[in-house]
Amino acid sequence: MQVSKRQFLKGVGALLTGVSVYGATRTLQADSLLQPEPESETKYAMVHDENACIGCNACVQACREVNHIPEGVTRVKIERKGPFGEYPNQSYRFSRVSCQHCEAAPCVRVCPTGAAYIDKETGIVAVNSDRCVGCQYCIAACPYQVRYIHPETRTADKCDFCQKSRLAQGLLPTCVEACPTKALTFGNLKDPESDLVKLLKAKPSYRAKVDLGTRPKLFHIQTIDGEIML
């Protein structure tokens, strides 16, 4: 069979285009639509009630101890805005910044080795540090900027809802237990009787940067205090 160079080039070009388009469309939506195996009964999520939060950073300290996080990096931050109003009637706003455990996680999508993955059992976005080479693509890809290189392991690290340290023992994430004002609620999104689902149904909540299509599982209940900001 005689194949001209032009035909050959066309063929290879079409093949490459097809493969790359197929790969690209498979990524976000397709995964959730075409799941072959039955879904797990557990999907962990967290709610941060900004009305209850007093910005004491007990969660940050507890996380540092339990998960052995060295100084200089952290899995969770409480961001403070304010003060609002005149002394003595001043108030601050606090919001939690930590891994959002996205359903369509950009970090998982970009990781070249599959070190960043979504745990099928729990929906937790986790890191397999044995596979991580430290290219930092996940750190750049995360729109919430919650990933960092752990100074000791030299691999990417972030909040895993205490999956390795406490969930395995049947305990709540340490930040939830440490919170003196019960601002954090952790639970299973698929269990309608859980405190988490009840709270989400009772109070209006928001999630950060939903327009990026990441479908995060860290919910925030907005504070009523303070002034309206545009």
Partner: protein, 313 residues
Amino acid sequence: MSAFHFEGLVWHWPIAIYLFLAGLSAGAVFFAIMLKHFKLYHEAWHSPFVQAAAIIAPVAVFGGLGILVFDLTRPLDFWKILVFYNTTSVMSMGVLVLMAYQVVLFAWIACIFQRRISQLLGKRLPIVQRLLNWLVLQEAAITGILVILAISLGAYTGFLLSALIGFPLLNNPVLPLLFLISGLSSGAAATLLGGVLLRGNPNGVEVRFIHGIEIPLILVEIGLLFTFFVGLILSGGQSQVAALNALGFGFWGWIFWAGVVGMGLTLPLAFNLWMKVSADRKFAYVAVTASFSLLGVFLLRNFILYTGQMTGT
């Protein structure tokens, strides 16, 4: 805010050098193939310009990959990228393209210089001789695949950044095209510079041919840069903030207007047009134009990488 250190900065200048070298390698190969295919035919292996491209392309891609490996936080684990793949990761697919590109690149170089290599080998290593003869028979296929891989590699350097959805300046559909075109023009410049340094004729058919392609290439690059930033500004929101932040009067604004637009695009375009109408080209003209062009593309990579990471969504 300091130009090289700011909050949210993840990827530093080594990545910009890597992006520059990968695009340059792809561009040099692209122009060497064009030269052989349209102008030099079977005499390509004599040409100092093709020889320069055959040296620059592998050296640039190896240098770029070396920088990339040393920039990992665990450089000794780099082999894991070669063993584990993730089809949704641009970087992982880029690694596949890079691997294939290097293999086919050496096959192509062997085809081009087959006669020379055979002369050098004489009667030794008959296996290599047979391999070379077989490769030469496949030259059309090798050339075709290499063109496709070179273009893929040039565009990949842009897709790598445009996959970062948290940064509106990077997450931009024009970026891969911009990087591809500027990578090709840096490859043309490197081929010209290497060629005249290897005592190629600065007024030869190769220089005229490459300059003929370079002028429309620069015009397309200007158009792409324009579309890139106007698109961002018209998108509004953080995209607009990112664009205006980058183009403003800071350090990077100067790099963009003086370095990328002035030195990297306007001067080479003017020199090229001048050389087109003037009677003959001299070594200094060709070398200076090519150097400006190279420096401009290098600055563009740094500019996009740094300003891109300055403004998040």
